[in-house]
Subunit: 323 residues, 2 copies
């Protein structure tokens, strides 16, 4: 096995890539603008040029075991990106095949949350865990489910959309997925901001949050206010953590994980979120599972996490079959 | 590999066991009373005597590859039965080890719903499926989850308690598990009878069900009335199927199964249950999964299913290590 892998994280704005060793050290990294290229061929051309430059500078040419890619709507089975709303390229893009042909290195792709789960299992808080659920709390809520040491892809490659569990069956908030009441509509950064607007409308007490134009309040503003002791802001975190903890209790009857691992902006809220979360989990947990699943925070550095997660797939690739 | 397996299904009242061949034919079967023995050693003694009699009569001594056992609260990993409420034996019973010592044949045990899933995968409607969810609709609601061809046991052996997903977060019905609002409290045979009592209390129209003392109504009575065109009885099935379909849509975002396979008394209600179930699944399904998971009925004969399911584990056992 060659000594390095290449991790590529494709976001709507930037594509970040890095050379990673077996211990999870990012040897070197760089980035290009994803959005610059309306055409996928042009994008791959620039990516190839810049990756080659990085490999050459770091004496890593011919030392890459595999390329792992994290991208929105990426399907591990087919190697395709399918109708990703945040990317310029329409329809189905055979990304793994295109990259493999260009680089002549085996490529595996998956979505961002699955990549995060594999990264955590390979280098982070989930080392040694065979059953856990990765939850990414960002603009949306993503998830990667690991059962018996293997990522759950489902029969079509799209399993693990736990941000779209229904947590409010009636009169739930509209979700980006077109339905209502999804976990993501409550427990993402956007969800927290929506809760802030709701609470400020309904309640009459003074709050630091009233100093901000209501449409512009972010989850960071709510965090800052809560840290200054603002009651409404603290209640918003209680509300968010409670819904998340109830959902974790439900997820536990499914795969009985050893741990939930949190990653993303909201995960940095610490006890503001974790205290109500753990309390709600415990209150709602089926007896046989009580006290068993832990809630852990990601151990990957935020700046490196996306590249590390993607790169971990590069250890699992199969060699390219020679024709 | 030897030509037969032995399946043992331990219920609260009866223990049924049978010799099964590789094609899923039950060569011969028999039973003993579980409840007769307050003492586990006495129970195993009688089981051994009767199994040996069956094996001898059918020329199957020394032809058993493994013994598979389905039992309440049976833990695949530890081989123990742990605090099973429906069995006489208290505490933790090392059942697999005790049977293995007595029979000198390798033994694997799991709970009834997991055994049903393995049986369906080995001999029934799930042959060739790698991702499916088995749902047993009996007195309770049980489940066995298969991901990538493997049963999901979770880190503690107790995964797959989908009957205890919360389907009604507030003011839900009390459940046997000590919580409220579980799927099982609505979509089991008992749940249907409870819905009948609720509907008959709330509504005023005439109904065939009013001819039965309200405390004695069973799901079978509701089925019979619905088949005669009784509106309240039909509405009860609509209500049940809708809740089950909503839950199936939620389960789909978890493991993206190819199929849900239904087994048990209520599954025999046919379109009365399946029509509202499929409609609710479709209405609540996240777009990416729409139209993908099928709802199938078990293909195992009811009389044989429990023994067949348990027996299938007998093909997976590891040989006993000789000291």
């Amino acid at each position: 096995m060659k000594p390095y892998v290449l991790g590529i994280d494709i976001g709507g704005t930037n594509t970040v890539f890095g050379i990673v060793d077996a211990r999870g050290t990012v040897i070197a990294s760089s980035s290009i603008k994803t959005a610059k290229h309306a055409n996928i061929e042009d994008y791959i051309e620039e990516l190839y040029t810049e990756v080659t430059r990085l490999l050459t500078t770091n004496d890593a040419v011919d030392k890459i075991n595999g390329i792992g890619v994290g991208a929105p709507n990426a399907n591990y089975y087919t190697g395709n990106i399918e109708h990703a709303a945040n990317l310029n390229w329409e329809g189905t893009i055979p990304l793994a095949a295109m990259l493999e042909e260009k680089f002549n290195i085996p490529v595996a792709i998956t979505n961002d949350a699955n990549a995060a789960a594999i990264g955590e299992m390979t280098y982070g808080a989930a080392r040694g865990l065979k059953d856990f659920i990765m939850i990414t709390l960002g603009t949306g809520v993503g998830s990667g489910i690991v059962v018996n040491g293997q990522l759950v892809y489902g029969h079509d490659g799209f399993a693990g959309e736990l941000g779209h569990l229904i947590v409010k069956r009636n009169n739930g908030r509209a979700c980006g997925c077109g339905r209502t009441g999804c976990l993501e509509a409550y427990c993402s950064a956007t969800g927290v901001a929506r809760t802030a607007r709701e609470f400020l409308e309904i309640r009459t007490e003074p709050s630091l949050l009233r100093n901000i134009p209501i449409a512009q309040i972010t989850s960071k503003d709510v965090y800052d206010a809560a840290m200054q002791g603002d009651q409404i802001a603290k209640d918003i975190f209680d509300y968010t953590g409670t819904i998340l903890g109830e959902a974790f209790a439900d997820m536990t009857v499914f795969t009985s994980p050893q741990a939930f691992i949190l990653f993303g902006g909201l995960a940095k809220s610490g006890e503001l979120l974790l205290k109500p979360l753990r309390a709600a989990m415990d209150r709602n947990m089926m007896t046989v599972f009580k006290g068993k699943p832990k809630v852990l925070l990601s151990e990957l550095k935020e700046a490196d996490a996306a590249v590390l997660g993607a790169s971990a797939l590069g250890w699992e690739v199969k060699p390219i079959e020679q024709a």
